[in-house]
Symmetry: C2
Subunit: 392 residues, 2 copies
């Protein structure tokens, strides 16, 4: 792993979650970084979401630190805004940066008061623990029901030198795209102006986090932040910027896929491809309808080549397409041709569907040029077990 | 149970489903009945849906028989239209009515050819078995993963005599409102012109089947038909028509609720009420978002008063409302007041949430007049078990 230059990481247990496991994390950039972020579109927004949005505006798109906690969403609480601001102020003071350059982020249970003192008291030791190589500690500290930390890395050799990208994310339930989903932090040491960074993030999200669904629920705290501190000393020229954007989008896509792979109770990672739809938007809606269908997801869990459910789910997307020109493939095997059963060996396909990676491909034959890829996971009894008892 | 006059019912095993259990059913009206029906809005529509729609048009809104089968959806099959038509023709010939007065309906697996011969061969004994009191046999024959048959009855005393209403429905998965959902047949012996009947059905569906969700999936075969044969000899006058409509809507609401009660794997029936939304449509969207949230539904399964998930689900409905003016009640207990945790006894509420009926009430305080009621069920491991293995 090739970490971007100029970032420091730290994590500690601040007593926010009940089990003694790091729950407070700090990412610091030595130089103020240009920063962009996208947030949940849920009407109910957590205090740190509101405050991060305000800070980005006040700072003109600069960030020196991300302060994140797990175990409490700091949402729908009486003291939410005050707590988020107090935490940012304390961090800013310790780090000697303007408070508007601290981006707060929280994840965890909704509606339980978060005590500012827990964060403020933990901050000195959190700051004292800052190291350039504690990236993974932060990725672990932001986990909730996640089984594994989720990180992705990339590097690009440009004319004037190499730049690095590192991303981390968390989440395995309450996952549905409406903007960003869950917490995600992507850092690069390239030098990228704030406006260009915002545009990159927006386009990248469309190809990554917005193509991901675990259970169709969008949380109140979703935040995806992209920081570029220029510590590599390399400012990509206008041509190179496209290559950098591609790598950043790649890191974001890898993070989004990691979430689906770790979907609550998931045993299988599912890639859904739709082609031949009237438009890209239509293809995305069809792919999303398939990804969100509990009947498709339970069939995948049962290794059942039940293509009727796939066709029916696509039919529920509100897209005008001709089912009689539609082919469905599972694991590359043609199971439905022109809306009708295609001959295939069921035991053989069932065996293939037992693999940990499943591919569903829906193709509408004709003139349509719209295509889209979507990621999800299967729906198992494990999802129910986790969510029938998460809070209590 | 007070069955409407002038209807005959029959059911038999035609070998369509693998287990030997009635799978073919016939409802016949001695007099041609005025008829109205609503169908799935899925882009993929089963052959009997297409044919029923055509028959209603050709007959000018008259029906003499409903021919329904379970075990095969007759959808996405090569011979679908031919099979549906051949079955209707054979029934029409036996019953000596025009073929356009036969409404076909199918439910079951998608994409498997349905053999016309099975239906045609079974029809003579099906017709021979027609009796006025075999209503329940038909309700049983159309079941798929249903655990119980679903019926509802009503009667209204009008100035000129009594009229009767009887409805049956099937369904416990792939349940989501976009129009009608699943199969439902409602018969009355009142005399109601076709146009009035259509208007009644449309308004009734809005208050019943369109307020129901089990898993957010809409099938390819959903059909809800309403027949009025006038056999009571009573033609409601324009004032009485409203009372009849109220009773018909009541029967449809009871049927819709029965589906949620029998939701696949469900252990609890959930009623969701939203009040104070900007409009009725907004209230319905909020209620539907709560009803469709797997996180809310798993929390109910776990008897967990996790109101944060309810507030968050409402926030995902795409409705502009103020979370800080929003109250949430579970089983009548105020759990969230103005977007914040309200004090309540958790053990006590957990005990109350163990009941088989749960009520969620979301109230936005302010000037909004929009309210809506929605029905759903909890999401349990049973749903997964049923659907990971339904087809194979």
């Amino acid at each position: 792993m090739n970490l971007p230059l100029g970032y420091l990481y730290s994590a500690t247990y601040a007593g926010i979650r009940q089990v003694e496991k790091d729950d407070l994390a700090l990412i610091v950039s030595g130089l103020p970084a240009t920063a962009a972020a996208v947030f949940t579109r849920n009407r109910v927004q957590a205090a740190p979401v509101t405050l991060s949005r305000r800070h980005l505006k006040l700072s003109g798109g600069l960030a020196g630190a991300i302060l994140a906690n797990a175990g409490n969403a700091n949402c729908a609480t009486r003291t939410g805004s005050r707590v988020a601001l107090a935490a940012c102020k304390a961090a800013a003071k310790l780090l000697r940066i303007p408070v508007a350059q601290v981006l707060p982020a929280s994840t965890g249970v909704i509606g339980v008061e978060l005590e500012a003192a827990k964060i403020v008291d933990a901050l000195p030791r959190l700051a004292a623990g800052l190291r350039p190589d504690r990236f993974d500690d932060v990725a672990r500290a932001i986990m909730t029901t996640d089984l594994v930390p989720k990180t992705a890395f990339a590097g690009v050799k440009l004319r004037r030198g190499k730049i690095h990208i590192a991303g981390m994310t968390k989440g395995s339930g309450m996952i549905h795209p409406q903007m960003a989903t869950t917490l995600g932090f992507v850092m690069t040491d390239a030098q990228i102006p704030a406006a260009a960074l915002r545009a990159m993030l927006k386009r990248g999200v469309e190809r990554s986090y917005n193509r991901l669904s675990v259970d169709g629920d969008t949380s109140t705290n979703d935040t995806l932040a992209l920081l570029a501190n220029g510590a590599s000393g390399v400012r990509p020229d206008s041509k190179e910027l496209a290559a950098v954007e591609e790598e950043i989008a790649g890191v974001m896509a890898a993070l989004a896929q990691a979430i689906a792979r770790d979907g609550e109770g998931a045993t299988k990672f599912v890639t859904i491809d739709v082609a031949g739809a009237p438009t890209t938007g239509a293809a995305t809606r069809m792919a999303r309808a398939i990804a969100n269908s509990p009947l498709v997801k339970t069939a995948i869990a049962g290794a059942d080549p039940n293509w009727g459910r796939i066709l029916s789910a696509a039919g529920n997307a509100g897209v005008a397409f001709d089912p009689w020109k539609t082919d469905v493939r599972m694991q590359g095997v043609l199971v439905c041709r022109g809306g009708l059963a295609a001959p295939f060996s069921e035991p053989e396909l069932k065996a293939r569907l037992a693999a940990p990676e499943c591919e569903i491909r829906v193709t509408v034959r004709g003139k349509g040029k719209g295509s889209a890829r979507f990621w999800t996971c299967d729906l198992t009894e494990g999802y129910i077990r986790i969510n029938a008892s998460y809070r209590t």
